[in-house]
Symmetry: C2
DNA sequence: CTTCGGTTTGGCACTGAGTGTCAACATTGC
DNA sequence: GCAATGTTGACACTCAGTGCCAAACCGAAG
């Protein structure tokens, strides 16, 4: 990575970190972009050169993971039935959460408890669903236009994930997210 | 209903109708609140006395239905297993769509194809999920705090509904929404 | 060391969403 | 007719987001 790229990444991290602190402290609506920019030591205008909107400071982090999802699914062995493959594909999320526990916790907390952020996150999820459905359709060897099943299975998998995530936050991140996810999948896809 | 209340409802309907026309014609981002207000013959300030945000002109219509959801579930016979009861509870939506076909179509079209509107709709849905989960928990006779199942089942039901809705719009509202919904439920809740 | 080309940055001005306030006006009840 | 209440439009304000331009910065070539 070049020097300028690393500097960019540095500013980016500084912004998310500053934003996370402010949001956790005073809430999303009460925090202005000027405050976040000032806390990171850049101008308001520069903020928008790193994030297209106020919501994205938080949501981009998950969007990065979301983009890896369909690739993650494609690397699952073909022997795995769709539900198992989907659950394992979602490890891109749970693994990253596991690697950065405290950041993930704060992030998930703010996101789930802030309607505007939750909305943006769910909006992104819809786009991931589309690409994942396509991926799952080829895996199942069916036509995604004619067959509803891949789309439904993906939607159900995300429903399980969301439920696990919301529950995880509600319980103060005390239980293990992966355990919760397994439980949710067990109900969503009874054997 | 009193005269003032009827007048209020009249203005409200006028606003949604004007908004729907404009949005279908020029898209959500390109339409300003001034335009919608002017088209309905009221001031910009009055618009906000009827809808708290630009998105709500469209989304409120569905929110009204969402509020009826848990009541709808509570009136389903106790003999129905959860998936069936949930599917039938969702008839609040499909029935209303059936009663106002062309309005529902335009509305769903705009909503599904506009990220900002879809986001708001999904955000609302999360709140319905919470109340529906509680309702389903009492129906199942379990503790909604300790038991994940009601929350997961509700989430899966909405996943099926969303998939059906998106597919319905994608197919140009040619197929019957209820048929699509049944198909999606069949995959989401295999017998 | 200097100059050149590309990128990053900050400041400024502008549009549009959303809110508080107030005065004008209509409606309902007495 | 009159008072209480509710609705409306106008104005002013904050904040999100964008376009534009000039200054600062940085790597490379001379």
């Amino acid at each position: 990575m070049s020097l300028t790229e690393r500097k960019r990444q540095l500013v980016r991290d500084e912004l998310t970190e500053a934003a996370l602190k402010l949001l956790a402290f005073q809430g999303f609506e009460e925090t202005t972009i000027d405050q976040m920019a000032a806390a990171a030591g850049v101008s308001r205008r520069t903020f928008f050169r790193y994030f297209p909107s106020k919501e994205d400071v938080i949501v981009e982090f998950l969007s990065d993971l979301g983009r890896k999802l369909s690739h993650s699914l494609s690397t699952r062995p073909a022997t795995e039935p769709p539900p198992v493959a989907l659950q394992n594909a979602l490890r891109v999320f749970t693994d990253t959460f596991w690697e950065h526990p405290e950041k993930s916790q704060r992030l998930a907390n703010v996101m789930v408890s802030t309607p505007a952020l939750l909305a943006r996150y769910l909006e992104r999820q819809v786009t991931w669903r589309a690409t994942l459905s396509a991926e799952l359709a080829v895996r199942m060897g069916v036509d995604p236009e004619a067959d509803l099943r891949p789309a439904v299975l993906v939607a159900v998998a995300f429903a399980a994930f969301d439920t696990a995530l919301i529950r995880w936050v509600a319980q103060g991140s005390t239980t293990d997210l992966n355990t919760l996810l397994s439980d949710c999948f067990a109900t969503a896809f009874p054997t």
